[in-house]
């Protein structure tokens, strides 16, 4: 390796470490809170840009990305397990009956509108049916479904007491809906490869469910009798890697299989669930940051199609949420706040959207440009939504005379 390249690698790696340290520093977190920014905008975006710059300047090579592949498959699995762990049926049973209707209305119109508008645009850009159009549109629709809660204390202050509980539950369960779409896409649009198992495409969906359930049971049995916290952590890492590896080996969607395993874990009796959830949560933020870095290496911000797709995606998603909120409020007014506030509360895009779109890119061995545009669309959509929600929140805050710095949006 030439001396110039070595110097570049050293400086770049040092920069990455410094950035990671800065992202974890309490003063950065205080700043995030002071300005009411999400992690994506504060700590995540620099990592995204860094990933892009590393790739552009040749610091991150194909070899490095290949070396990192087990790491990001593991990361996908970890996030999947964390999402699945949120599907605790007992907790859902405690929600009011209007939850299912609200969830459907806050998810379906946004999903459908985003799917139709993105399909039209992608067709206009030359992508034809049969060349991955349906697959990409379905995944973008799944990305449109997921929400991260905005400042609920501010936006739901005049809402009924159960509104906060409902909105929080929606942000957890809509991720499951996105993963369900992803499972379908991963089964129906499997890459062709030389394999020994021959199954119809619908058969792969059943295999996905079976493998996820089986691995959930295995992870549970492994964790049931751990002797120490270190052993619990090790077996959790091992279990997630085993699940991710098995799913990847069978060309199934890694986050979906791990989410199913997580759902099994969430619904069986466990001696210290709080500790398990804390361990998962502890590593979730670094995993997302790592993802943003990896997404940065495949990001193509110079292609205008991605920007246009991002604007269309964000606008159709936002409008879909508004339509859904109006309908939901009409049907279950007793449990919900005003439609405008409900829309704002569920408008920010969850980082799970980036995981969903990125996992599509990993499923396809030879990704087509539309996936890169899709990644850009999710990033652009997320930033645009963030800006809009921040502006609305500040206006709302000024109207009630509270200090804006205290209004924090959440990342997931």
């Amino acid at each position: 390796m030439p001396a110039e390249q070595i110097a570049r690698v050293v400086i770049a790696l040092a920069a990455a470490v410094m950035l990671a340290i800065a992202a974890a520093h309490p003063s950065v977190r205080r700043l995030e809170q002071r300005f009411g920014l999400s992690v994506l905008a504060a700590s995540g975006f620099p990592l995204l840009a860094l990933g892009y710059a590393f790739r552009a300047f040749g610091v991150v090579t194909e070899q490095t990305l290949s070396d990192l592949r087990p790491v990001y498959e593991f990361g996908l699995g970890w996030i999947g397990l964390a999402v699945g762990m949120q599907l605790n049926v007992r907790r859902l049973d405690e929600l009011p009956p209007s939850f299912t209707t609200t969830l459907a209305l806050m998810t379906l119109p946004a999903t459908l509108l985003a799917a139709v508008s993105c399909a039209l645009l992608l067709s206009g850009l030359g992508l034809i049916y049969g060349s991955g159009l349906l697959r990409d549109v379905l995944v973008l629709a799944a990305c449109a479904a997921v929400s991260a809660p905005a400042n609920l204390r501010l936006l739901l202050r005049h809402g009924p007491p159960r509104a906060m509980q409902l909105v929080s539950a929606i942000t957890q369960v809509d991720q499951v809906a996105a993963f369900a779409i992803l499972a379908l896409v991963a089964s129906m649009f499997r890459p062709q490869a030389t394999v020994l198992w021959r199954l119809p495409r619908s058969g792969w969906f059943i295999v996905t469910l079976g493998v996820g359930f089986l691995l959930g049971v295995i992870i549970y049995l492994l964790l049931r009798n751990v002797r120490s916290r270190a052993e619990e952590f090790s077996l959790l890492i091992g279990g997630v890697a085993l699940a991710a590896g098995t799913a990847g080996y069978l060309a199934l969607s890694v986050p979906v299989v791990c989410a199913l395993a997580g759902a099994v874990l969430a619904n069986v009796p466990y001696h210290d669930r709080a500790r398990l959830e804390a361990t998962l949560g502890d590593f979730e933020r670094p995993m997302y940051l790592l993802f943003l870095f990896l997404v940065g290496t495949t990001w193509r911000p110079l292609e205008w199609q991605g920007w246009v797709l991002g604007i269309v995606f964000a606008a159709s998603r936002g409008y879909g949420k508004l339509i859904g909120a109006r309908a939901a409020v009409r049907l279950a007014a007793a449990d919900l706040p005003a439609a405008r506030n409900l829309t704002l509360a569920l408008l920010p895009e969850s980082a799970v959207a980036i995981v969903v779109i990125f996992s599509l890119a990993t499923l396809d061995p030879a990704p087509i440009p539309a996936i890169a545009w899709g990644i850009n669309a999710v990033i652009v959509g997320s930033v645009l939504t963030e800006i809009y929600v921040q502006a609305m929140q500040r206006r709302e805050a000024r109207s009630v005379g509270e200090e804006t710095g205290r209004f924090v949006t959440h990342f997931v």
Partner: protein, 445 residues
């Protein structure tokens, strides 16, 4: 009951891994997924095997090694060669972490009273082993057809380089056994210090002996010579100090998720080390020594912060080391390998005895020290592989003998060292889970 459950779980995860492998044609693998599958399978299976090892009072490390060996390419083949190759980076990171923990345990101020003993035993064992092993390998070189035709100088060069490799120790195994048994006392401290110091010397000496051997065998793959060697050693030390500074600053200013940062730094060291010729072992060791002896942060803080990630790291590292053992190649050269292992053990016992007499170490402790010096793993394997690759054609034959000898020490060493620690009374008593739970209940009542 615990062992039965562990074995059932082992059977379950093996079935899953086997089923996944049956998806692709034999020998094919999926980049990334193969490594993730191997990583997950090896961590889970190694921990189950360690429960079985624990039940028969063997160290957990033996369980990890056996797991890798059984499920690796040599026996059942669940983990393939390609998967192991994909795990190289994880292995590099693990070596760095093991070395960092070793460095954090070595406080020069505490070691000062034992410095005489450490240096006397290190010099005596390394020097005596060099003499005995060089003689033994000179005989091997005269017997094996591929080197029998060499002149005296040629056979001597072969013998010196092989002796150098077999003389290596294993800080990773010694630290691994000490960590898992939570041993504390003069024997564990002495063994750990000796293997770290002596192994550093062995690595430096290898660079010199291999340069010498290259001048005798012009057909050998040429390394960059002394300049590259200096860059390799001093570069690693420099990066280690830089990591130490970053870690010290991070622990003082941020203090949260230190384990993750340590892992990230060591991952970078392993990744960048491939292009920058850095040694993760030396980088980790220097960072640990810097933290414990120079920085205001104590090594104990780092050890505590990395406590949770240490177990999976050890499990995966030793399982991979076990998976890299080649049964067929070993059986082929077994007699020579056993002779080399016996000669090494003799050198260690006599060398330690001489060192103990010179330094005036307590006889009871001195008697047990050689058991801590017996284990071999990472560094010795790395050096043997260098011989295998750099000195064709004789390197292939002699390299296999070296690996065979390392296998013997790798499998027997940790078991004997654990018994030695138990005999010295340095292993901390850990109550069984039920016992601990019931005592907690009593405390609550």
């Amino acid at each position: 009951m615990n062992v039965t459950r562990a074995m059932l779980m082992l059977l379950g995860v093996t079935a899953i891994a086997y089923a996944a492998r049956s998806f692709l044609p034999f020998g094919a693998t999926v980049t990334g997924s193969g490594a993730a599958l191997a990583l997950g399978f090896l961590i889970v299976a190694a921990i189950q095997m360690s429960h079985a090892a624990d039940a028969v009072r063997f160290p957990h490390l033996t369980g990890y090694l056996l797991c890798g060996f059984l499920f690796g390419p040599s026996v059942f083949g669940i983990v393939t060669e390609a998967m192991i190759a994909d795990l190289a980076l994880v292995k590099g990171t693990a070596v760095g972490l093991i070395a960092l923990l070793a460095g954090c345990e070595l406080n020069f101020r505490h070691l000062r009273p034992r410095l005489r003993a450490i240096s006397a035993i290190s010099i005596a064992t390394v020097a005596l082993n060099f003499i005995l092993l060089t003689t033994a390998f000179f005989w091997v070189a005269s017997t094996v057809p591929v080197t029998a035709g060499f002149g005296v100088l040629g056979r001597l060069a072969v013998a010196v380089i092989c002796a150098n490799v077999v003389a290596a120790f294993s800080p990773a195994v010694v630290i691994g056994v000490i960590t898992e048994t939570e041993a504390k006392g003069p024997l564990s401290e002495l063994c750990m210090s000796i293997v770290v110091v002596a192994d550093l010397a062995i690595v430096v000496i290898y660079s010199l002996t291999s340069t010498l051997a290259r001048s005798v065998f012009p057909e050998a793959r040429q390394a960059g010579g002394i300049t590259v060697l200096a860059a390799h050693i001093f570069g690693s030390i420099g990066v280690g100090i830089a990591f130490g500074i970053i870690l010290a600053l991070y622990i003082r200013r941020v203090g949260s998720r230190t384990g993750l940062l340590v892992f990230a730094l060591l991952f970078i060291a392993a990744e960048a080390g491939r292009v920058l010729h850095l040694d993760p072992l030396m980088v980790g060791l220097t960072a640990g020594l810097f933290l414990e002896n120079v920085s205001p942060v104590s090594g104990e803080q780092v050890t505590k912060a990395t406590e949770v990630i240490a177990l999976p790291t050890f499990a995966i590292f030793f399982a991979v080391v076990g998976a890299e053992l080649h049964l067929r190649a070993f059986l082929h050269v077994a007699p020579f390998a056993v002779v080399a292992a016996l000669v090494r053990a003799t050198g260690l016992f006599i060398g330690t005895k001489i060192g103990v007499i010179i330094a005036g170490v307590d006889r009871d402790v001195g008697r047990l020290v050689p058991f801590g010096l017996l284990p071999q793993a990472g560094v010795a394997i790395a050096l043997a592989v260098l011989v295998l690759n750099d000195f064709p054609p004789w390197g292939r034959v002699l390299g296999t003998i070296l690996l065979g000898s390392i296998v013997v020490n790798e499998l027997i060493g940790p078991v004997l060292f654990r018994f030695a620690l138990a005999k010295a009374g340095e292993i901390r008593h850990r109550p069984a889970r039920n016992e601990a739970e019931s005592s907690e209940e009593v405390a609550v009542v």
